[in-house]
Amino acid sequence: MATAAQEPKAPLKRSRRETRNDGGSALSTYGLLAPMLIVLGLFFLAPLYYILLFSIALRRFSPTEALAALNGELNGFTTELWSKLVGVDVIVKLPGIDLTVPTMVVALIFIVLLLLAVSGGRISKDRGGWIVGIAFLLLLAPFLTLPAGNNLLRIMSLSSEGDSLRLFFKSVSMAMTSSVIAVIIAIPVAYFLAFCVGKSKYTWMLIVIAPFLTSYLLRVFAWKVILGDQGLINSGLMAVGLVDEAAPLTFLIYSQFTVIVVLTYAWVPFICLPIFLSFETIDRRLLEAAMDLGATRWQAFRKISLPIIAPGIVAAFLFVFIPSIGEYITPTLVGGTQGTMYGQSLASQFVGGAFNWQYGSVMALFLLGVVLLLTFATSRFLRSGAGGNL
């Protein structure tokens, strides 16, 4: 009796019943999945496995060896190159505190914070959000400055040998800046489309998104025409006499500023969509009720709309932030020497001047690790932003 009662719950039996209903066998099920798994295994997991091997290989390849075929040369492993990247010291300078800690310690705190945030039911959702927020601030820390007396004090800096890592944090802060600006621009646009244009809003949304689907390279290039020394802005200002012809505003092009402007521009259309969708979920009657009860429009927005759209906004922010960290095309085209980013330095280890595949592999895996960790820790927000499709 007891076994009979348990049996219907056994997963094996349920799956058999399901398969029969679908008119297909396990063979056809996995047969259909096989091509995708093979492609992902061969051309996604295998390459990642090989950069891992390269990053810890004992032997140092010369450039020609790096280009030659693989002949079992990786006969030992070392973490030497990894310590070249992350084995630097972080100098924390707060008023009253002057502390030197290894980067690994800071990284560990960062990882623990992010993992805490996703540790299931143990921590409430709100607190999880705060913890992720703190972890993000930690990412920004090497670029945060505090006013101290008449000077600005960088609260965290890297010891001199940490060039790659410094570039990484610079990229993070550039990505953060452009994604925050993009979100700030997208919110009113999405609000306008959700509430003010009536039935044609989906068409307008399509008009907003369309540029995102056109050539990225060309949109970046077009900004050169706008911001360049003889570009739209400079020649416009020269024409009205605000800028001397001999001295165009040079900060407009080939700088961090340019990269941030272009990144923001490139991503804004894309993130209008998730924010728009979260505005769409708001029940208008809630807002009417709030105003009937004497709330001002601002109060209604702050107390009702904002909490509802918050996950959508966080998702939108992440949609820009995460891919921007590894950006490579934009800084190469418009960043000049001042606006370089981590992705460029990483690429130059493979196809450019630096040419060190093994150190490049370390840089690539480090970037991948950070991005995957951030995605994992924030997957809750990403999922809500994608409308539950992921």
Partner: protein
């Protein structure tokens, strides 16, 4: 009806606010489309450098571009890569979506995660990883268009699955059951029942993958070797200002084309939605 909509709007925004917001939106659209418009303007610029002031209008760059052998080769390479990679990605995604949507699959969570991860992996990382894979002969394909196509399939797969899987999942299960009860084989069921319902999604998955591939430059720039696709060709040209003027006309044509393709994909997808809701 109109009055009700007005009051609704009134609730969420004040008349002044609406004016301000409309102005903001208008400005936003202008900035959004300004780069594209400028490109089109500069494709007719008589000068050799894309800078102000314009030196008169000409169509000579279009002529030059159309007669350039290297541009034609790059374009043709891109079209082949995009068509093949989009077709393969759509086919593989279609095959995988069905069991993921309908069947009991062991390790479904792991498979779904693995399938979606390429979406967040920085393209630079995937590019250099594939470079090692192909250049070091782990998989003896070497660098070239086939490698690029493979790279694009990996990235396009999650997009295609994200389009196809929800659509398949939303089809009434009873339709399939009825087909089987009436003696249809698995393949017959798919061809006669499923396929007609998901054709729009298949088309839109194909188009999205195509649009992605034809514009992808990062992965391609690492593994294209000496067979540049159009974006790679464009990218190397854009780094040298003196070369760019000949590139802009083709660029303009491409922008207009990808714009039309993207809109077509969206229209097809929506029509599919409506068709399905109508049932």
């Amino acid at each position: 009806m109109a009055r009700r909509r007005n009051t609704e709007t009134f609730v969420v925004i004040s008349p002044t606010g609406k004016v301000l917001l409309t102005a903001f939106f208008a400005l936003f659209l202008v900035v959004l489309y300004l780069p594209t418009v400028l490109l089109i303007v500069f494709s007719f610029n008589a000068g050799t450098v894309a800078a102000f002031p314009l030196e008169g209008l000409t169509t000579k760059w279009y002529g030059l571009a159309l007669h350039s052998e290297s541009i034609r080769q790059a374009l043709w390479a891109s079209v082949r890569v995009a068509t093949l990679s989009a077709a393969i990605a759509t086919l593989i995604a279609l095959m995988a979506s069905y069991p993921l949507a309908r069947r009991h699959v062991r390790g479904k969570a792991v498979i779904s995660a693995l399938m979606l991860v390429p979406l967040v992996v920085p393209t630079v990382v995937l590019g250099v990883a594939l470079l090692i894979l192909f250049q070091k002969g782990v998989i003896p394909i070497g660098l070239g268009l086939i490698s690029v196509m493979i790279g694009h399939v990996v990235i396009a797969l999650p997009f295609a699955v994200l389009i196809l899987l929800p659509r398949i999942a939303s089809i009434d299960k009873r339709l399939e059951e009825a087909a089987y009860d009436l003696g249809a084989s698995g393949l017959q069921m798919f061809r006669r029942v499923m396929l007609p319902l998901i054709v729009p999604s298949i088309l839109s998955a194909f188009l999205i993958s195509f649009v992605f591939s034809i514009d992808e430059v990062v992965i391609a720039s690492f593994i294209a070797g000496d067979q540049p696709t159009y974006p790679v060709y464009l990218y190397s040209g854009l780094k040298f200002p003196e070369k760019t003027q000949t590139l802009i006309p083709v660029a303009t044509i491409m922008i207009v084309l990808s714009f039309l393709l993207a809109i077509a994909a969206e229209v097809i997808r929506r029509r599919g939605d409506r068709k399905l809701e109508g049932r």
